[in-house]
């Protein structure tokens, strides 16, 4: 180029021209690219596809509506309309004349209106000026006041004129109405009939694609004005995002793609177009969690402001979805956002964001099971957790262990509890993934020997109330165990803890109990559990001594695998070395050695045992002497769900190190696996024991952990607090902690035992309506000392021995769920029995006694048909409830055999009392209130239950 360079020029201008042209073209192209890249968003494609879907769905809805319109009525109206129009046609001249007059009046009215409005406007200005002038005491005030008053009168006159013309217009309009009113009314009816159809048609017209709609309004650079494809967002003042320095209202843009998440009709379409699976509880405008109040990310988490699949931090439900997403969206483990969306099956963990104080949330079955599993595993015992404070230690007491089991059995048991009872919750403490090498065996055995020695040396002497009980019959014992309700809390046959579920593993599994303890212990335990352990949850089943003997005999026949044998026989020197290691951890080496030398063999073992129990935290779950006030060993989990992934130690675990849920999954699957690949002294190793959780249990526990969140949401997001709500919240927790839900279904949850009973009417009753059904003082007496209500049932309500606080909590809970007025009610006895006479007649007619007991059990009836003694009704049942029950028994107690006598309520098929069903039902109630002498749980002279 240099040769073409002109004199005085550093560059060849022709060449510069070429470079300039090329770079300008580049700039143009990159600008086009920039505009396109800004314009071409993922969500726009989604919305374009949705508008086609929407047309499809709306059209289908329109067709459906068209079909459902009452055709005869439509034809009739159309005919009427045609007739009315015709009659209008006949009076055309007259109508035209009136319309002409109306037009003239309208013109006058409009002028008068304007004159009045303008005069008022001027008057307002002048009045204000006058007020200011008077305040400033200006001259000529009186004169000006007069002027203002005149002006005011003028405005009044003008308004009067408007009123006059308006009245005149109404007269003429009425005249016109005589000729056209009929047609207008018919048109109105027609519009009402076709309202839905017209609405859908209008909607369809609006969403129909047009050149303007589809292309022009959404064109690049023009789309800022009135695009049809727009980002949709919900701003939620009630729920907030924590942005560290402050809390800001949540702003969820999820509906930009999930366009029909809150509208019905899209259920069959795939994500993101589908309808929310539970619209009646979430997002629906009449649900407790409407979209415009709750939004999306407060439950699902993720980044609400994002509008692309990846940025919103979607999180896959399982491996399969993960792979599909990786392929479809290039999904990878999120690491830019601390709180990715929860996998859908764990979404209920977020209920706790607002239902803070509630351990059990209704409509959240997964969370309820998660918490039940968390409690059953005894997680709260080692890991302090908000909402799970002050609970009983989950394991049996070990303070009287020597009367129950032998040291050898305990050693075999702790080596591998699941080898002895496959469904136990007792975790494996030794021989785990970080302590299973042959070198570890010696240390394990030393520690086990020492811990067991400590337990037995510190056990108190327990005197059995019945020292040498008589033997019973194993076969009848088995029948009792299977039928009386033991299986509501205890597992007998199941091989899988997950299958049995957290409710039925509430008590110790009965498997292999025969090889665990002695007949004498079993006999005394079944006879009166609270004698051995005053704090046990195990209730008294009020068995006769013979039955107790039968049950205990049966339990001794339950034997099974012997478990894991000792893997090494440590020498005393090896034991000393382990103790020295423990001592050296807290003392200088020489002092540790001195201490060791001071102790004799037995003391050494007990000292080591105490330190071993302290290290592994056995006392967190079990009552052990010497550890009454020791703090539990685990990390507090109260806000674990909010923990940042960077605060978790992944060590060398072969999982993604940004995956918080993955970490918890691994921790629960093999708690010690994070030691793998590390060089550690024995006392530096992880010590969380292995619970052998299944994948299902693992997911439940992850759900529980993810629900333990920091306080973020303000009080305005929480359910309103009332006394009834507090009763419900504490009651829900109570009936689960006492495992009432093992046998009874309450508020749609629990009742696992009912599945073991073939016939629903022979199973423990549903207790949801209990508060509306029974009288509080009767319930108080009944739970304290249950009486037999249905003698034909094999299953039996045990005596729980609850204290007054808990009894009141249960009664208040049932009362609150039934929204009852309260415990104290006054009924006029005369009023309640006023119609007993006609009632008796109906009572006989309806053959109530055919199934209901009245003193004696009806014969010739299958047991499934039998019903409680009606003589209890007066004392037991709420007088208001009996009519509700008679009216629709199936609604109150699904599966009941109680017939529905008034299916067409308030009509009745019985002629009595003029066929008035309401009166008939009342009369039966009145008759029942006269019956007396049934069994009663109330003890005469008991002061506490004399409140009536």
């Amino acid at each position: 180029m240099a040769e073409k360079k002109a004199v005085g020029h550093a560059y060849n201008v022709d060449f510069l021209n070429v470079v300039f042209a090329a770079s300008s073209i580049f700039l143009f192209l990159t600008t086009v690219w920039m505009v396109w890249s800004d314009f071409d968003r993922e969500w726009k494609g989604t919305q374009r596809r949705f508008s086609q879907l929407q047309i499809e769905v709306t059209r289908a809805q329109l067709q459906q509506t068209e079909k459902s319109v009452n055709k005869t009525r439509l034809a009739q109206l159309e005919q009427q309309l045609a007739a009315a129009k015709k009659s209008e046609e006949d009076n055309k001249a007259k109508i035209d004349e009136i319309r002409g007059r109306l037009a003239e009046i309208d013109a006058r009215l409009s002028r008068a209106n304007q004159a009045a409005t303008f005069a008022k406007a001027t008057y307002d200005v002048d009045r204000y000026a006058f007020e200011v002038a008077r305040d400033k005491k200006e001259a000529n005030i009186e004169e000006r006041q007069k002027k203002i008053e005149d002006e005011g009168r003028h405005v009044g006159d003008l308004n009067l004129a408007v009123d006059k013309i308006t009245a005149e217009r109404a007269g003429v309009a009425a005249e016109l109405g005589k000729f056209t009113g009929a047609a207008a009314q018919i048109q109105k009816d027609l519009d009402a009939l076709l309202f839905e159809q017209n609405r859908l048609q209008k909607q369809l017209d609006a969403i129909q694609p047009t050149v303007v709609n589809t292309y022009l309004l959404n064109a690049p650079l023009i789309d800022f004005m009135a695009p049809t494809l727009t980002i949709r967002q919900t701003v939620l003042p009630n729920v907030v995002d924590d942005v560290n320095f402050t809390k800001v209202p949540k702003m969820d843009r999820c509906t930009t793609c999930h366009l029909s998440i809150d509208s019905k009709g899209y259920e069959k379409y795939p994500q993101p177009y589908t309808t929310h699976p539970n619209l009646s509880v979430y997002l629906g405008s009449d649900s407790p969690h409407p979209l415009n109040k709750i939004g999306c990310t407060v439950c699902h988490q993720g980044m609400g402001g994002a509008t692309s699949f990846i940025d919103a931090v979607h999180y896959p439900r399982d491996e399969k979805q993960r792979e599909a997403w990786e392929k479809q969206y290039g999904w990878e483990q999120p690491h830019m956002w601390d709180f990715p969306m929860l996998p859908t099956q764990m979404t209920e963990a977020s209920c706790e964001q607002c239902h803070r104080s509630e351990v059990y949330v209704p409509n959240a079955p997964a969370l309820t099971l998660a918490y039940a599993t968390y409690e059953r595993g005894g997680c709260y015992a080692c890991h302090k957790t908000r909402g799970f404070e002050n609970l009983r230690k989950p394991g049996p007491i070990l303070t009287k262990i020597s009367s129950k089991v032998t040291p050898d059995w305990v050693k075999t048991w702790v080596r591998n509890p699941r080898a002895v009872k496959d469904v136990t919750w007792m975790p494996r403490i030794w021989y785990n993934s970080n302590s299973s090498s042959p070198q570890d065996a010696v240390r394990n055995e030393v520690e086990i020997n020492a811990a067991v020695a400590y337990l037995f040396a510190n056990a108190e002497d327990y005197q059995f109330p019945v020292a040498s009980p008589p033997k019973g019959d194993a076969k009848s014992g088995e029948e009792i165990v299977r039928s009386i309700g033991c299986l509501g809390c205890h597992v007998l046959d199941e091989k899988d803890r997950t299958e049995a579920g957290p409710r039925r593993t509430f008590g110790q599994p009965l498997k292999n109990i025969g090889s665990k303890t002695t007949y004498t212990w079993l006999y005394n335990w079944v006879k009166d559990p609270k004698h051995y352990n005053p704090n046990t949850y195990m209730p008294n089943l009020r068995l006769t001594d013979a039955q107790v003997a039968d049950v205990a005999t049966f339990l001794t026949t339950l034997t099974g695998p012997t478990g894991m044998a000792a893997q090494a026989t440590p020498t005393p020197e090896q034991a000393d070395a382990v103790l020295l290691d423990y001592l050296r951890n807290v003392l200088p080496l020489t002092e540790a050695q001195n201490q060791l030398n001071k102790m004799d063999g037995n003391t050494r073992q007990l000292e080591l045992g105490k330190r071993v129990i302290g290290r592994y935290g056995c006392y967190s779950c079990h009552e052990i002497k010497g550890f009454e006030t020791t703090q539990p060993i685990g990390t507090e989990l109260s806000e674990e769900g909010t923990k940042l992934v960077t605060r978790l130690d992944f060590a060398f675990a072969p999982i993604n190190h940004s995956d918080k849920l993955g970490w918890f999954h691994q921790k629960l699957k093999d708690p010690r696996s994070f030691d793998a690949g590390r060089v550690l002294e024995p006392l530096e190793k992880l010590r969380m024991p292995d619970f052998g959780v299944s994948e299902v249990e693992n997911e439940r526990l992850q759900t529980a952990i993810m629900s333990f969140q920091r306080d973020i949401q303000p009080a305005s997001a929480m359910p309103a607090r009332t006394a009834n709500r507090d009763y419900i919240v504490s009651g829900r927790a109570l009936v689960r902690r006492q495992n009432c839900v093992g046998c009874h279904e309450i508020e749609g949850d629990g009742g696992e035992f009912r599945k073991l009973v073939a016939e629903p009417t022979l199973a423990p009753p549903l207790l949801t309506p209990e508060g509306a059904k029974v009288q509080p003082d009767w319930l108080y007496a009944f739970i304290q000392g249950p009486i037999t209500i249905r003698p034909w049932l094999k299953v039996r309500m045990p005596t729980f021995g609850l204290d007054d606080a808990r009894l009141n909590a249960v009664i208040r809970y049932f009362g609150a769920t039934a929204n009852s007025i309260g415990m104290f009610r006054t009924y006029d006895a005369k009023d309640l029995t006023a119609m007993a006479g006609p009632g008796h007649e109906l009572f006989t007619l309806l053959k109530c006694q055919q199934c209901h007991v009245l003193g004696e059990i009806p014969k010739d009836q299958p047991t499934a048909n039998l019903a409680p003694d009606l003589r209890m009704a007066r004392e037991r049942l709420q007088p208001d409830w009996i009519p509700q029950w008679l009216q629709s028994p199936l609604k109150i107690q699904p599966g009941t055999r109680m017939p529905m006598f008034w299916p067409d309520y308030p009509k009745s098929s019985f002629p009595q009392m003029d066929g008035n069903a309401e009166m008939q039902i009342r009369s039966i109630r009145d008759y029942l209130e006269t019956l007396q002498g049934g069994p009663s749980p109330k003890k005469p002279g008991n002061a506490a239950i004399s409140t009536n």
């Binding site: 510069l16 580049f26 700039l27 920039m34």
Partner: protein, 365 residues
């Protein structure tokens, strides 16, 4: 392959890395005649390209160099290599002409050109091309959306903007008041002072090395080795906890660094004299001043006496050429610049934490 990677990981250790950089500079200056060939220049660029392309096959390395924040630094490496080589090449060519008595190449050209088109037109083209680059850059490398910032939970590593990473690297060796306040201020003051200190009239408006040997070498050391190469080090080789990671190493949060540094006072009192530190016996300022006396004397010597001694001996010619005021300001600035590599060497060789360490009044050097 793993072996090669591990060699690179080893070489990238801050000690080796910094010394390699310094040696490279010495080599370039020393063997500049060889450097000034196209083969070396394009060869170097090729070697770097090859390194990045092949290195990109490694997932850890790829993650670091393709992070949108780090891409400019990859560009910086190439630009730096190119311009150092190019200026050195032009300087060598001119030096050859000057020795032949021809004068520099730039002087041979017409000394005036037209504002239009030579200046304005090329500026316009540059402007357009820069816009193109910036637009394409902003489209292709998107800024990520992250969790709202939390001052209670800062990211790990917390990195300064790339242009301050050299300063951040200094924080490894000096306390914030020095590395963050005094030294950066001196850099600015020093840059302003250069024209007033520099009396060499040669090398103005053309490339040359021989006419400004010391000036160019000093500049290259200060800018390329102390500033730019520390930016590269901070970007690519400093990971969580500001620990060092090789280019092919996984940024493991749990990597540990042994903290075994000790103060000069401990060297002097405990290790040399076998005594406890004076501050354990004497409370108050007297105790710590006595304890830090060796360090304080050393620092005073470095700032106060060394320029004088150098001016009499090693830098005598400069003292005479520049005169006392220019010489002392220049020597002070030079010594302050050298304080960084000196402290680095002391840290690496002697595990020296502080020369003067008075945590009682937050005064550490």
């Amino acid at each position: 392959m793993d072996l090669i990677k591990s060699i690179f990981n080893r070489v990238a250790d801050p000690r080796v890395y910094f010394l390699t950089m310094a040696c490279m500079l010495a080599l370039i200056v020393w063997k500049r005649e060889k450097v000034a060939t196209n083969a070396v220049g394009y060869g170097a660029l090729g070697v770097f390209t090859l390194f990045f392309v092949l290195g990109g096959l490694d997932p850890n390395f790829r993650l670091i160099i393709t992070k949108p924040d780090n891409v400019p630094i990859v560009g910086l490496i190439f630009l730096l290599v190119f311009f150092v080589w190019y200026s050195m090449k032009q300087a060598v060519l001119n030096d050859r002409r000057i020795t032949k008595g021809e004068g520099p190449e730039e002087k041979a050209e017409a000394d005036r050109v037209w504002v239009w088109p030579d200046l304005v037109y090329t500026e316009l083209i540059s402007l357009i091309l820069c816009s193109v680059v910036l637009i394409v850059w902003s489209i292709l490398l998107k800024a990520p959306l992250e969790q709202p910032a939390n001052r209670a939970v800062t990211p790990n590593p917390s990195k300064a903007p790339w242009y301050f990473l050299g300063l951040q690297e200094m924080l490894v060796y000096f306390d914030p008041w020095l590395a963050g306040v005094v030294l950066p201020s001196l850099i600015i003051v020093g840059l302003i002072a250069i024209p007033y200190i520099d009396k060499n009239e040669k090398g103005n408006g053309y490339y040359t090395f021989n006419e400004r040997k010391v000036e160019i070498t000093l500049f290259l050391f200060g800018f390329v080795v102390l500033w730019c190469s520390l930016i590269v080090l901070g970007t690519f080789l400093r990971g969580p906890n500001w620990n060092f990671f090789g280019p092919f190493e996984y940024w493991d949060l749990h990597k540990l660094e042994a903290l075994t540094n000790v103060n000069l006072s401990e060297y002097f009192w405990v290790r040399m004299l076998g005594q406890p530190l004076p501050s354990t016996r004497i409370a108050g300022p007297l105790g710590y001043l006595l304890r830090e006396l060796p360090g304080l004397l050393l620092v005073l010597f470095y700032i106060g006496a060394l320029p004088v001694i150098l001016g009499r001996k090693l830098f005598r010619s400069y003292y005479e050429k520049l005169g006392a005021p220019r010489y002392y300001v220049g020597a002070f600035l030079f010594l302050m610049m050298m304080a960084l590599p000196i402290k680095m060497l002391l840290r690496w060789i002697f595990n020296l934490k502080y020369i003067v360490g008075i945590p009682e009044i937050f005064f550490n050097i």
